[in-house]
């Protein structure tokens, strides 16, 4: 053992002392940056280029009439706050797991998943509402870029919720002790990243008109 410690000053098993899975997650998140970056770039390039409505924001048509925008800022503000809270609960969940606090782990991770689900609920509501207002994937550029961008994000949230529920089940079974806290940390990284993507989408799509 002593020889090991000498040869690997930081950790036993990797050159840098960093956990390989954590490094992989960060690298993956880096790759996701370009995935969402390209979606956002497309949204921004096509911004305001829809030939027909429905439009995201209040728009004055060529003939001078004013049409309402589709986006519902108060509603989305609420769902944005929900997602922010989920990030807070996520770190609290991680702290609970690290403490070995089983009830805390179950509770906070569960709450995070719940917040994610509520966000998805908001999004499902928003999508159906827009759909009824006549915005489909094929109605105009706004429809295509909006549904693709927020849909990709929503799909990530969905995966995250499933991921968190899996961890919650492990916690309930008592299989998520402090020695497994890395698993929660990784889920957290993913979750926060998805949150942070929303932090970018929200102003670009909803607030800036």
């Amino acid at each position: 053992m002593d020889a090991h410690a000498a040869a690997h000053p930081a950790h036993l098993d990797t050159t840098t002392g960093l956990d390989s899975r954590k490094l992989a997650f960060w690298t993956f998140i880096g790759s996701e940056c370009l995935l969402f970056g390209t979606l956002i770039a497309t949204y921004m390039a096509y911004r305001g280029d829809s030939l027909t409505g429905p439009y995201p924001h209040e728009t004055v048509l060529a003939d001078g009439t004013l049409v309402e925008g589709l986006l519902d800022i108060p509603l989305t503000s609420a769902s944005t706050a929900v997602l922010l809270f989920s990030s807070l609960f996520m770190v609290l969940g991680l702290a609970a797991v690290q403490r070995g606090d089983r009830r805390g782990s179950i509770g906070w991770i569960g709450m995070t998943a719940l917040m994610g689900s509520i966000f998805l609920g908001f999004q499902a509501y928003e999508f159906t509402h827009f759909w009824h207002e006549g915005l489909t994937l094929s109605s105009n550029l706004f429809g295509s870029t909006f549904y693709t961008l927020t849909g990709f994000h929503g799909a990530h949230v969905l995966v995250g919720v499933i991921y968190l529920l899996t961890l919650m089940i492990l916690a309930i079974k008592g299989k998520l002790g402090p020695e497994k806290s890395l698993n929660v940390e990784l889920a957290g990284l993913y979750w926060h990243f998805v949150d942070v993507v929303w932090v970018v989408i929200f102003p670009l799509v909803y607030l800036i008109s």
């Binding site: 020889a3 990797t14 390209t38 096509y46 105009n140």
Partner: protein, 642 residues
């Protein structure tokens, strides 16, 4: 994960399994590397046969071998096969086999994900090529992708490409892209995290360095392609309007996104080669690489600059003078770091005692041919001149000088160089020389005249040309040249095949090379290093002994006994002078991850998911469930770290 488990007392290293099933379930980076190589080489032959058919059609004017759409399928599949199914996987084969050995690791960081990458690319290849075989279905023609390798929208949207052709392209590349991203993440982590003690970043072999840079490009650029493909796929399948002009969609967005991926992609195909020749040239010049630091940094710089030049493929699209100027100048700037590399390789050879092995010949010819391709690239970068050159055979000449004269020649060099490490046997040098000279002459005969064809006004991607325009002779010469490459490739294939069992035994370090992979037996044992080496210099096999011998020592192969010595010491049993700092074998049980069949099942499910969009959406739903299920099994499989 792989190099620990000191608690488990394992006496004997695990025996190597044999049989087909052991290959299908293997997670050993060396076997995965070999499979990558074999599959990719087969696809090289397929892409080559497609090229030969293209050349046959163009051999004489007004030919009628492949007319219209069939020709278009042929050249598109030639390019798609060569780029995505042959050359990229071939470089990945080397990442797999060589990089863990070079950094003294027992395997890659995530062996099962590595296997997943392999199976994904295998299925992607099968999927894309299945489009040919729809021609066998009565009443249906072959449905291979037919809009060129960059598949410009809106030609590729449903109204203008109603067949399945572009669905195969879009979905197939999605699978291939996934394979690349997963593989890239794996290699980034491996290189950062799995290096042997003492293998500092600036001691890493250049090939490992370039693998790292390439992987970063892959992990980022492929994500851009993924989204572009998704948009096109949504347009085709779900009626979105990204490229629907009647709804305001802009075909130029596709061009931007494709080339945002496409230009980093061409560097993805050349940077690993820069790494390979940086190993080959010093070895056969018996001199350390000249300007190691500069070579590494210029490689990083090329990767970075490569992101800021994409619109040089779009000079004729009317971006306006400001954008044109920006992209022209940024493109030209890449000539500087690339030139630096070229000069450093030349300086490495300067004054060295050069051995003209086949590997070295290919490496030297790589420098020459790539420089020609690079110079024609700079000619393209001069935007006003490019307005004449673009979309003509001049571009075809440029791209083959860099792809064939660059990537392929470099890969062949790498194969001759590392083949003995991989198989334990040397390739036949006599056949190798034939292969080399035929390839070199053949490629110049094929591709050099294309410069002039382009300047004389022959557009690319035309299935026929009229008589009397002055294109006849050069096209005929190109076709002859292509068949010379064909013959050379057959010789090569035979050499590869025969040397596997009949080649001369190589021993650990037949070339007297300096890097770690040569410190072990050939082929290496499953567990690679019996004990994790401690690295003290950039050229461990040369400089460990530098104190013992004058100047730079180099390995000598003893023809009779098949042993190799370096400055009087057998390299296989190479020991470092200060043994006490080293972990001893007794402490170290070797724990290798068990084989797993989840990679191939997961890979198949993913491919099936995408394939379902062509067959029936129900298939995709079932496949999605399979993906989810096998991901859980994958994640919770015993014997692997979670």
């Amino acid at each position: 994960m792989a190099t620990t488990a000191a608690e488990i007392p394992v006496a004997a290293p695990p025996k190597e399994e044999t049989g087909v099933w052991s290959w299908i379930t293997t997670v050993d980076h060396k076997r995965i590397g070999i499979m990558y190589g074999v599959v990719a080489f087969i696809y090289f032959l397929v892409g080559g046969v497609e090229a030969l058919l293209v050349r046959l059609q163009l051999a004489v004017p007004n030919n009628d071998l492949l007319i219209g759409d069939l020709y278009n399928q042929m050249f598109t599949m030639h390019a798609v096969t060569m780029v995505f199914l042959a050359l990229m996987p071939l470089t990945v084969a080397f990442f797999n086999f060589i990089v863990p050995l070079q950094i003294g690791a027992r395997d890659v960081a995530f062996p099962r994900l590595n296997a997943l990458s392999l199976w994904l690319i295998v299925f992607a290849g099968i999927f894309i090529n299945a489009s040919w075989f729809l021609g066998l279905v009565p009443g249906m023609g072959s449905q291979a992708p037919n809009a060129g390798w960059f598949a410009y929208a809106n030609l590729t949207t449903l109204p203008y490409s109603p067949g399945l052709n572009m669905d195969f392209y879009v979905l197939g590349l999605q699978i291939a892209g996934l394979s690349s991203i997963i593989g890239a993440i794996n290699f980034i982590v491996t290189i950062i995290n799995m290096r042997a003690p003492g293998m500092r970043l600036m001691r890493m072999p250049v090939f490992t360095w370039m693998t790292l840079v390439t992987s970063v490009l892959l992990a980022t650029a492929m994500a851009v392609l993924t989204i572009a493909l998704t948009q096109l796929m949504f347009d085709r399948l779900f009626g979105s309007t990204f490229y629907d002009v009647s709804k305001g969609g802009d075909p130029m967005l596709w061009m931007h996104l494709f080339w945002l991926f496409g230009h980093p992609e061409v560097y993805i195909l050349i940077l690993p080669i820069f790494g390979m020749v940086s190993e080959v040239i010093p070895t056969f010049s018996r001199k350390p690489l000249f300007g190691y630091n500069v070579i590494v940094f210029s490689g990083i710089l090329i990767g970075w600059l490569g992101w800021g030049v994409w619109s040089h493929h779009m000079f004729a699209t009317g971006l306006g003078p400001i954008a044109d100027s920006f992209f022209a100048v940024s493109t030209m700037m890449i000539a500087i770091p690339t030139g630096i590399k070229i000069f450093n390789w030349l300086a490495t050879m300067w004054g060295g005692s050069i051995r003209f092995t086949t590997a070295m010949l290919f490496a030297i010819s790589f420098i020459a041919m790539f420089t020609i391709g690079g110079i024609s690239g700079v000619m393209h970068a001069a935007a006003p001149a490019d307005l004449q050159q673009t979309d003509t055979y001049f571009v075809v000449a440029h791209l083959h000088y860099v792809f064939f004269g660059g990537t392929v020649l470099g890969l062949w060099s790498g194969i001759y160089y590392w083949y003995p490490k991989i198989t334990g046997r040397l390739m036949n040098e006599h056949l190798g020389k034939w292969h080399f000279w035929l390839t070199l002459v053949g490629m110049n005969l094929t591709f050099f005249p294309m410069h002039f064809l382009g300047l004389h006004g022959m557009p690319r991607r035309i299935y026929t040309y009229a008589e009397g325009l002055g294109f006849e002779n050069m096209n005929f010469a190109a076709t002859i040249g292509a068949f010379m490459i064909g013959i050379a490739t057959l010789i090569f294939a035979w050499n590869l095949f025969r040397s596997w069992t009949k080649g001369k035994l190589a021993g650990p370090n037949p070339w007297g090379a300096a890097t770690l992979e040569w410190a072990m037996s050939s082929p290496p044992p499953v567990y690679n290093f019996a004990e994790v080496p401690i690295v003290r210099s950039r050229l461990p096999l040369w400089e460990a002994d530098a104190t013992l011998a004058e100047g730079i020592p180099h390995g000598k192969a003893d023809e009779d006994t098949d042993t190799v010595t370096l400055a009087g010491i057998e390299i296989g049993e190479q020991h470092y002078p200060d043994d006490e700092n080293k972990m001893s074998t007794h402490d170290l049980g070797i724990h290798l991850p068990p084989p797993s069949y989840w990679p191939i099942i997961l890979g198949f499910s993913i491919a099936l998911f995408f394939g379902g969009f062509i067959v029936h959406w129900g298939v995709s739903i079932v496949a999605a469930l399979m993906v989810a299920g096998s991901m859980f099994m994958f994640a919770f499989e015993p014997g692997h770290s979670h």
